[in-house]
């Protein structure tokens, strides 16, 4: 079965360090999303791309977060410098979207980030 692959699954780092999370979307999907999940805020949209072009990154703290899609098989989310409040589970999801409707999303297993 096709699946969205995220690495790493777990990351523990110290405050101030750079963190890079990677996502391989499902082949053929044209839209990639980054979400962050915490107990307090639930699932928050951070950014998303269509055909590798960024469509919306208004959910990201711009001073420390950056998201890119260097090619169709890789999406990255970087935090530099990381802070304890960034501790959360970060999910990547991909889907085939456009036209008249949005179809379902496929989620990766997430990266659980702990910033000490």
């Amino acid at each position: 079965d096709a699946r969205v692959t995220q690495t790493p699954r777990h990351k523990v780092t110290e405050m101030g360090q750079e963190v890079t999370m990677r996502c391989q979307p499902i082949l053929g999907h044209n839209t990639v999303f980054w979400y962050r999940q915490t107990m307090m805020q639930g699932l928050e949209l951070l950014a998303y791309f269509r055909n590798r072009a960024p469509l919306d990154d208004s959910g990201m703290p711009k001073d420390r977060f950056s998201a890119e899609m260097p090619d169709a098989t890789l999406a990255t989310l970087k935090i530099q410098p990381s802070e304890p409040r960034d501790s959360a589970v970060y999910f990547c999801a991909s889907g085939l979207q456009g036209g008249r409707t949005n179809e379902k999303l496929f989620f990766g297993s997430g990266t659980q980030l702990s910033v000490l």
């Binding site: 979207q97 949005n102 379902k104 999303l105 989620f107």
Partner: protein, 111 residues
Amino acid sequence: SQQGEEDPQALSIQEGENATMNCSYKTSINNLQWYRQNSGRGLVHLILIRSNEREKHSGRLRVTLDTSKKSSSLLITASRAADTASYFCATSRQAGTALIFGKGTTLSVSS
């Protein structure tokens, strides 16, 4: 603000009972989707209902949509212990925009 809000936040039932979760949203939508999340895992799509549909079934799942009340419900019939998970509704305002998720309902089914 989030587009969808689920109610109740938590639900505990016995195996064999039905579970009903509700979702309310604030603006017009293109479609509404329900997802499930098992502990420590990613979300899995369950069912999608379009804005011009009122009811949809998939196995033991039944989803209704009332656009006049801006609400949806997810019914799981004859629940099983394996249905224990968090359930999220998600909406998009129009085609091509991102899905916005509610905070979810945590369902516990005891045997």
